[in-house]
Symmetry: D3
Subunit: 134 residues, 6 copies
């Protein structure tokens, strides 16, 4: 149950149609997932959100696309974002993550959750050796 209403015919709005067309072209698929269908309630927010996601996730950069999806999914897990966890694990698989890599992802995320809590409980001072600043 969402807090906004997805428009019945989102592509009747030319700004929405332009974004959807770009999503389809960028991803090479006709499938438009729910986040975009709901964001169509506000074309400006839809445009800005897609522009950001496209620039970061669908544009070649230093890290490979599969790795970026796994990092994205890791943040989503820690933020308890149900939708984002599903969509970015699906994207990681679509971009080539094997089931062994996904299982490894679960191991790393769980281990991080463990030591994050341990350190947030112990409040250990950060080592000077980790200093990056000059």
């Amino acid at each position: 149950m969402a807090t906004v209403t997805a428009p019945q015919d989102p592509e009747a709005d030319p700004r929405v149609k332009a974004v959807f067309d770009d999503i389809r072209a960028t991803r090479g698929t006709d499938f438009i997932n729910n986040i975009w269908r709901y964001l169509a309630f506000d074309p400006g927010l839809l445009e800005a959100t897609w522009a950001d996601v496209k620039a970061v996730m669908a544009t070649p950069s230093a890290l490979d696309p599969k790795v970026k999806e796994l990092i994205y999914a890791a943040v989503s897990v820690a933020n308890a974002c149900d939708y984002c966890t599903h969509s970015h694990l699906a994207a990681a698989r679509a971009k080539g993550a094997s089931e062994a890599e996904i299982a490894d992802f679960f191991r790393v995320v769980a281990s991080a959750g463990k030591t994050n809590h341990l350190l947030n409980a112990l409040r250990v001072p950060v080592d000077e050796a980790f200093r990056k600043e000059v």
Copy 2:
């Protein structure tokens, strides 16, 4: 300021010394960072924590070590774990992450933070297409 006291001479305890020796051998360095020095207050907790981190992070697996450190750091950022963010970004760099990859990491983590909040606000239903269960 920590919530436990790090022992003054941790390696006087043979269980602590065994863990520290294994950390040094596994990592190929004499440096023992603070989390292990503080965990030495309870040798059993030190052993269990190192066993977990070693099995997940220092044992060959499907994902490469650098990628695992970036996933670990991503969870740590979302959990606001100061120590973990520093230590795992340092580890990612030590395992070969370039500064361009680290900058890319920041971009992905920030973008995930953005859409995580957007989705947790919109509460959009998860697409059936993301279903993994059979």
Copy 3:
């Protein structure tokens, strides 16, 4: 699926009835939403929770009621509280938030989520200029 059982006939308990009557009088509606129906499992917790919410949210104060609901909803989004996000966005609308304001709320919450993660990753020192203490 809740972790407690909502009583079948909550207002049979005079302490519950008194709280429900006050909710109805304060809000000018007969509608009692689920949080109160479930909290009726423990009249003392119901009374204390309503007293707190009434004092903070239903009592005139420096900020106007609509703004308080938006701040409340913002915290709820960041805490991934599904119920609270729904109920306080509904309350913001009931207290006069326009759909344009709600869309603006989504933009601000998303942008905050972005820079929160960026800053929690960069761990930038707080400027002395922000110091409020004397």
Copy 4:
């Protein structure tokens, strides 16, 4: 202690200088706070972050600037972002929030933290009456 190194002379880079000039012009002050000084380590990330913050926070929209800063600060508190909490409460004050409004903000944020945890513990079902979808 940050995870990146702030450049010594950031405005030697014309892309950085252009952003800093725009920050100064937009805000009507010579003060450049640390987030921008550190983000200068990567001009592209600096540009993208400022473009987002400027579009959302420094551009007239449905909600007034003070309210947007309070919503931003509310998210930052819930995410335990030290820097963001300081900078956006300072911004709220700079945009006219009175000390009484700031105190009210604290009350609302604390009350939201309370019921968020109560609801995340009780897992009460969302009322159909809150449904926004049609």
Copy 5:
């Protein structure tokens, strides 16, 4: 809707059967809850997770089992983990927590949520008197 597929006949795998047998023996019940049924998708992850939970939660230690379940549930509430909140409150009840204790748990968790947000907003310095380090 899960992000992995639970095997149809998990105990056909002898490693899974061994874990399930140990869960049944340790808990004195035939009931295997969903987390283990889904983790069976990766026997190594299943083994490691059960070994950790068994060592911490099903082995006699300084705190009594009921108290450990309440602490576990408290973390789960704060992390918005729906499954964990349900399973560890159920475990607390199974290990003897009365309904009055569960109600008390809700009060404490809610109060902690309140002051956590208040302190994360106020950013008050930690008292030297709380220092544990020597």
Copy 6:
């Protein structure tokens, strides 16, 4: 560095003095920790916060005081509240928690952090057997 200014002579305000006196009497100590000294900036918020903490934490109830402090600290760890983690672990020790119990607390909190992340990644459906509702 706090976001409010602690008054120089807080007990010059009779409302603040009354709260401080009650804290001293309730706790049987002259020590007033920083949260109360900073909250003195707003006597109404100070009174309401102390009333809540006193009712929940300093009033006999189903759970014993030490256990309540550990639950409180567990939530604080998960919320990355530095001040609260320190103050409530100190309170748990003051109310009788042994160092072995504190070490056990760390183990449970870390294990919960681990499975919380694992479950928030796997998104396993909650077992019907955990249903409390009738």
